[in-house]
Symmetry: C2
Subunit: 136 residues, 2 copies
């Protein structure tokens, strides 16, 4: 409980029940969540718009990061908390075609790539799709 408040405080956000609930949902379920997932979990308590704005705020403050997907955006907690100025993510995301879950593989980072002359990379996003350990 207090941990939630602390996390919010560190990022200069007011503590509201919606923010606490969204944050604890991310912590309890370990995988990446879409807005729809959160609306399913909390939709009776909060307006859709509020959940959208909470996600947007968390993104800006570096509490969560985007996870790309071929059928819609998802979000996951930033492990080492990022700051408003700098998001740093170089880990791999894995989406299971059987159970549909997307997870961060925090320990695996994206291998370096030698780009041609003139390209200046800033962000990397690697999504691997396949079957996860739970589903085979």
């Amino acid at each position: 409980m207090d941990q939630l408040r602390d996390t919010l405080k560190v990022h200069h956000l007011r503590t509201t029940t919606c923010r606490e609930d969204v944050l604890s949902t991310f912590i309890n379920r370990k995988n990446a969540l879409s807005h729809g997932d959160l609306e399913g979990a909390l939709g009776e308590n909060y307006d859709r718009v509020t959940i959208y704005r909470t996600l947007k705020t968390f993104l800006e403050k570096g509490i969560i990061h985007k996870v790309l997907d071929d059928e819609g955006l998802r979000y996951a907690l930033c492990s080492h908390s990022c700051s408003e100025e700098k998001h740093q993510h170089d880990h791999i995301h894995f989406k299971c075609s059987a159970c549909g879950e997307t997870n961060c593989l925090e320990n695996l980072h994206i291998p370096a790539v030698q780009l041609p002359e003139g390209y200046f990379p800033e962000h990397f996003n690697l999504l691997i799709q396949g079957v996860c350990p739970k589903c085979n």
Copy 2:
């Protein structure tokens, strides 16, 4: 012209002006296109729905492939034509934060990754965001 028809024929699709136009738009612009891009280019000639269905058909037949993006899906031509049964892509996509274009870097393929026990990878999708040679 005839090349367009041939491509369609190879994939067992009837030649229609919409399909020819969508295909040639992909060939002329070299970069990845969203549905919106195509609607902008061809929207006066064809209905939105027809363009959606054309994209879906091309996807299924292996003429184009999905390109991940942090703000919506895009599509790009499959270089070595894929088949209905098997899409094979291991190249890198680069999105420029200045001009907004997304391009396939056909020559660069995604480095191998050693996944933990139990993961069975099937598809890989690496998006690098940054500044492209044209924009710096």
